[in-house]
């Protein structure tokens, strides 16, 4: 009796643990979302993050955040010493791979900041995908020109 109850409780636990994992695994997830301090009026900021692909390939199609009037996906290409940065409608998130948004590459540009981004602060942002569910994360603000996310 006790054994059976334990068994079914264990089964329920296993199921409970499994269901959210299965739900997460379906779509992309977002990690290490960060930004850099920006205190100059009229000058844009940026969001960087690591987006892990789900079971199928997906597209990052946009980011929503209240700290900026517009958030635009940018693709960065280097041509020798010249950087080529251009707005893009979507960035590919490979299945079980990752899309890295960082200062040397693709990123989200924040135009029309509604307030200065202060080092040490955080703000929420929602990443939207073509197929997967939107993911809201907390973006940490690092020092100006930081190369990597704040600790």
């Amino acid at each position: 009796m006790t054994g059976r109850r334990c068994g079914s409780a264990a089964l329920a636990l296993v199921l409970a643990a499994f269901v959210p994992v299965a739900a997460l695994a379906a779509g992309p997830t977002v990690e290490r979302a960060w930004s850099r301090a920006m205190a100059v009026p009229g000058v844009p900021g940026a969001i960087f993050a690591t987006i892990r692909g789900g079971d199928t390939s997906d597209l990052l199609v946009g980011v929503d955040t209240k700290v900026a009037a517009t958030a635009t996906l940018h693709r960065m290409d280097m041509d020798g010493e010249a950087m080529r940065m251009r707005p893009t409608k979507a960035l590919r998130v490979p299945a079980h791979g990752e899309l890295v948004l960082d200062p040397g590459g693709d990123h989200v540009m924040l135009d029309g900041l509604s307030r200065p981004l202060v080092q040490g602060e955080t703000f929420p942002a929602t990443f939207r995908f073509a197929h997967g569910a939107p993911v809201t994360v907390i973006v940490k603000v690092g020092r100006p020109g930081a190369d990597e996310p704040p600790k």
């Binding site: 301090a37 100059v40 000058v43 844009p44 940018h74 950087m83 200062p103 100006p144």
Partner: protein, 205 residues
């Protein structure tokens, strides 16, 4: 008939074989000529450096002679640049911080390639985010274009973007000028402050 055809069939491959060296040299030429042309164009191009007359954040006019006895560490970029320019400026400041007293011999300078949006107040607030030492320089469109030419910086405003929202494409390279005004070397702007500090220390020795 069959006898006549045979030499013809044999002839085609041998003609191709004979053509191979010719085709190969054409390919080689196509590969090497642009390089040769580029190399000669580089050699013929004026050396990096020369006069500039720009405006500092506090309104004073500065030229390449405004910091006598010091090296100039110059980066061209713009404040609306979301990624590469902040990285370069943070690395410049980080490298100078890491170099200790040796850094006193170097004046870091950020020159805008986007004078339409980067007035001196914007430049001043922008460079101040990175540290107390970087001078932010702007100027008239002509003065900026002349500085870009002298320092070998290629700039293009990218099509698209409306009104005040547009992007610039520009050479992203950190340049070192010696106190005598000669070119002291160039450094990549994306390799981190530790690497830059090491390379800079060697270059000013």
């Amino acid at each position: 008939m069959a006898v006549e055809e045979k030499p013809a069939e044999d002839g085609t491959p041998s003609l191709l074989i004979a053509l191979v060296p010719i085709l190969f040299s054409v390919v080689l030429l196509a590969v090497t000529v642009p390089h040769l042309w580029r190399a000669s164009a580089m050699d013929m191009r004026a050396p990096i450096g020369g006069p500039f007359s720009l405006v500092a954040s506090d309104g004073r006019t500065v030229t390449e002679k405004s910091w006598p006895g010091r090296f100039l560490l110059i980066y061209f970029g713009y404040t609306h640049c979301p990624a590469a320019c902040p990285t370069a400026l943070a690395d410049m400041q980080g490298a100078l911080d890491a170099m200790g007293r040796a850094a006193d011999r170097i004046q870091p300078v950020f020159v805008t390639v986007d004078p339409a949006r980067d007035g001196r107040e914007t430049m001043g607030r922008y460079v101040a985010m990175f540290g107390p030492h970087i001078e932010g320089l702007t100027g008239s469109a002509d003065a900026i274009a002349s500085a870009e030419r002298n320092y070998g910086i290629e700039v293009r405003r990218l099509p698209g973007g409306t009104g005040d929202a547009y992007a610039m494409e520009h050479s992203s390279v950190i340049l070192l000028m010696r106190p005598d005004g000669t070119f002291g070397g160039s450094f990549r702007a994306d390799e981190g402050s530790a690497r830059l500090a090491r390379d800079l220390s060697a270059a000013i020795r």
